[in-house]
């Protein structure tokens, strides 16, 4: 059975694009959440959408599960293979098919790197807004599957707010076109439903993205505080003042230390919290807003305030923030990244509680978060070589998710449920709600072949291990948000 399938696969893909040797398969066994691993029976490397469609139809005919994968940066185990299934490695579907400046759209293949879209659109003074921290390596296909976020979600929304339409092959081989190229639609927002499906609805083959004009001006301010609660309070004051910054980010002491050790961003070393706020838009507006922002920040009694003097200093402020996750690897052999969301006004409460829960368990927790949208990223530090440490860290992670729900938030802001949080889905949704989502899933993937085991509780689990960063991450090639 398996050999018949592999033979058929071999008739679709030449040996150079069909990996079956153990050594070739190893890099695909896990993604950026290295705790989950599974070995696929093969990895195929499509070069065209027809390749993908044929591979999916072959899987359908043989009842073989498949997982589409971009750069494998998922932090929720979203692209972990299914044992006995294949991986569709989509990195070679990396063509930008069209950038249309007049319509402000880009039509791309799923393997296109997120940042590449903005780089190529820049000549038209346009950019692609969603900016997950892994944007220099993560792919648009993965962003679409997991509705990725980034630092600008309060003002600009998530990936789904920037996808206008897509062509996808459903798990049973049917090819559908959803949405279009217009900002508006008629009838139910089907592409809106597709984005964030966690791979369960099949594979996006071509994606139409909305581009925005590059802001004329940026003003970035960095404020240091004695207490992380004060930084959170400053964010509430900024929102209450009627300002709408593009990004508001907070890092706590441990995260600052890690970032400094890694990239020497020049953050105030003795601060217990750093708040990074960025305004962007037309210069005349930004200048007026900046005067107000400076006043609000001053009243929040920071111990130090810095204003980026130029573009390079602005990038340096951001470099520390964007590298914070991988930087934590410098102060701990292992860590779990969480992704819960709380209402913004309860950030201080959430952070206080997380700190308390960590201290109770003797576990260090570094906090990096998107304060503007209440998206927490507690980094739970542990040493995987110590027996039981991973389990203790996971238990704390679970407690943090339950805390987010108690405060009225969500178990995931941008990483998705994936493998990691599927057991917490019932904490957020009722059995009826999960059953309705199951019905939707079955209507689109009756055989359960596409990325099965993700999002819903109770699927088959690959082995749980506890060892260190992904080899690519250790090499500094990938980072985590």
């Amino acid at each position: 059975m398996r050999s018949r399938f592999l033979t058929a696969l071999g008739s679709l893909f030449p040996p150079s694009r069909l990996l079956i040797q153990a050594a070739e398969l190893a890099p695909f066994e896990s993604d950026a959440l290295t705790a989950f691993r599974a070995r696929p029976i093969a990895v195929v490397i499509p070069e065209s959408k027809e390749d993908v469609i044929q591979a999916v139809r072959l899987c359908r005919d043989h009842g073989v599960p498949f997982v589409a994968r971009g750069s494998g940066t998922s932090l929720s185990g979203g692209s972990v293979p299914v044992a006995g299934g294949i991986v569709l490695a989509l990195n070679r579907l990396n063509r930008i098919l069209r950038i249309d400046p007049a319509r402000r759209i880009a039509v791309v293949e799923p393997g296109v790197i997120n940042l590449t879209v903005s780089q190529l659109a820049a000549r038209h003074r346009l950019y692609y807004a969603p900016d997950p921290s892994s944007q220099s390596i993560c792919t648009i296909g993965g962003n679409v599957a997991f509705n990725s976020g980034g630092a600008h979600c309060l003002k600009y929304g998530m990936t789904s707010n920037h996808v206008l339409g897509l062509t996808a092959v459903l798990p049973d081989g049917e090819v559908v076109e959803l949405g279009g190229e217009s900002l508006e639609g008629a009838g139910p927002d089907l592409h809106g439903l597709f984005v964030g499906n966690e791979g369960l609805f099949g594979v996006a083959l071509e994606i139409t993205l909305r581009l925005l004009p590059i802001p004329e001006s940026y003003r970035t301010i960095l404020a240091a505080y004695d207490r992380v609660e004060d930084a959170g309070e400053a964010v509430s004051r900024i929102v209450a003042s009627g300002l709408l910054p593009g990004a508001m980010e907070i890092m706590d002491r441990l995260a600052i230390e890690a970032a400094e050790a890694a990239v020497h961003a020049g953050y105030p070393a003795d601060a217990n919290a750093i708040l990074l706020v960025e305004l962007e838009g037309e210069r005349a507006v930004v200048d007026l807003d900046f005067a107000r922002l400076s006043e609000v920040v001053r009243l929040s009694r920071p111990r130090e305030v810095r204003v980026a003097r130029d573009a390079s200093e602005r990038l340096l402020f951001w470099k520390g923030r964007k590298s914070a996750f991988s930087a934590v690897g410098r102060i701990s052999p292992d860590y779990l990244v969480q992704d819960g969301v709380v209402p913004r006004s309860r950030l201080g409460e959430a952070l206080g509680e997380i700190g308390r829960m960590g201290r109770e368990r003797g576990i260090r927790v570094a906090n990096v978060f998107h304060a503007g949208d209440g998206n927490l990223h507690p980094l739970i530090l542990f040493d995987g070589r110590v027996a039981g440490a991973l389990e203790k860290a996971e238990e704390l992670a679970g407690e943090i998710l339950r805390l987010c729900l108690r405060l009225g938030g969500s178990i995931t802001g941008e990483h998705g449920v994936g493998m990691e949080k599927r057991d917490y889905l019932p904490a957020m949704f009722t059995p009826t709600e999960i059953e309705v989502m199951h019905r939707l899933h079955r209507a689109i993937d009756p055989k359960g072949l596409s990325n099965s085991g993700k999002m819903f509780p109770g699927g088959g689990a690959p082995a749980l291990t506890a060892h260190g960063p992904h080899p690519l991450e250790r090499a500094g090639i990938i980072s985590r948000e």
């Binding site: 400046p101 976020g149 559908v176 008629a186 209402p343 209440g374 209507a443």
Partner: protein, 368 residues
């Protein structure tokens, strides 16, 4: 049209609680939720279908200005929501249409309608965060959440934007809101043709203005561009936009600006034989489509830089359907003599059928 019952038919049932909505779905062969009836075509019931009036499921459930979110029952009039937001200097930036006519939050979501302000930050689909609805099996379901960022579960709130009451009965929704700019100002450029208007937009594009609204008005041979912000910023910015455009414009400030945009809001056409329709499109299709509309004598304007056409069409439904199909366009008929809301070349029907079968397997709601 003979098969269509108007929304205000006395047989309308009026549930006062979500439990009563569930009961109605279980009891009636087919139901369709209706709000204030400002969009009569999508809220008209086919034969054998009973309208469910949502007006008693009304009111703001939760609004915390500091969170920039609110939750309201589906039957809440937009006017009530906008007034509550305005008291805290906030607003729904996508200018939901028909607000002054009494449109409800649920009806706006179900029709998937956004006004001129959708240009800058997006439309109803981009501001909806969470929903509560009743499926065709009478299940109560929450989708999305109450926070501005959330990736848990399938994105049902987006699916329900434009769902036309055919996938479930919306009972409650949570939205993101923004601080409202202190003031608005409008530049009105004379533009003889839509091609000239599109050319003007191309000329302005590299300057990276954050326009709140861009409206192409062939009936007035003009293009209207709206800026928002502090009033003291306007003198310089309006002049900069004129310089970038290479021509001067009439300026509308304060009440004149306000009145201008209020007059542009879609409204039910005066003539009984006229169809009001919304047609999504792009700048690429605009010149040819505009020529077809001009030839048909249709009144029209193009919102959001040419991303959506608002049309008043008097040559009958079949001719409108044909005009859309020729250009490969889809559309939504809102008022006037139209037997169904979705018209033209609708995409994704196969996918939509699967979704419909999952949420409403026994067709307790009308089909699209």
């Amino acid at each position: 049209m003979s098969a269509m019952a108007p929304f205000s038919e006395p047989s309308a049932l009026t549930p006062g609680s979500v439990a009563e909505v569930v009961d109605l779905v279980a009891r009636m062969p087919m139901v369709l939720a209706v709000g204030a009836g400002t969009k009569p075509v999508p809220s008209s019931c086919p034969e054998g279908c009973t309208p469910v009036a949502m007006r008693c499921l009304s009111g703001i459930v939760e609004y915390d200005p500091g969170e920039l979110t609110f939750t309201a029952l589906a039957g809440t009039p937009l006017g009530e929501i906008e007034a509550a937001l305005a008291r805290h200097g906030q607003y729904l930036p996508f200018d939901p249409p028909f607000a002054r006519a009494g449109a409800t939050l649920g009806g706006t979501i179900a029709a998937g309608l956004s006004g001129a302000g959708r240009q800058r930050f997006g439309g109803v689909r981009d501001f909806i965060l969470g929903i509560r609805f009743v499926t065709g099996l009478g299940e109560q379901v929450r989708g999305g959440g109450k926070v501005v960022k959330n990736a848990a579960g399938f994105d049902l709130p987006k699916l329900f934007a434009g769902s036309l009451g055919r996938l479930g009965i919306l009972v409650e929704a949570t939205f993101k809101v923004f601080p409202r700019p202190k003031a608005f100002a409008t530049l009105l450029f004379a533009c003889g043709t839509v091609s000239e208007a599109l050319q003007l937009l191309e000329t302005l594009r590299p300057a990276s203005f954050d326009f709140e609204a861009v409206e192409i008005l062939p009936d007035e041979s003009a293009i209207a561009i709206r800026l928002g912000g502090a009033p003291e910023s306007f003198a310089g910015r309006l002049a900069a936009a004129e310089r970038a455009a290479g021509r001067s414009a009439s300026r509308l400030l304060e009440d004149a600006d306000d009145a201008f945009w209020r007059n542009l809001e879609p409204a039910r056409p005066a003539g009984a034989d006229e169809i009001l329709a919304k047609v999504p499109l792009t700048a690429a299709e605009l010149p040819a489509f505009d020529a077809a509309l001009a030839a048909a004598g249709a009144r029209r304007r193009y919102s959001s830089g040419g991303n959506v056409a608002w049309i008043e069409w008097s040559l009958g439904f079949e001719a409108l359907e044909a005009a859309l199909r020729v250009q490969g366009l889809s559309g939504l008929a809102l008022a006037g003599p139209a037997p169904r809301p979705l018209i033209g070349a609708i995409r994704g029907k196969a996918f939509r059928s699967r979704v419909k079968a999952a949420l409403d397997p026994h067709n307790r709601f009308p089909d699209f």
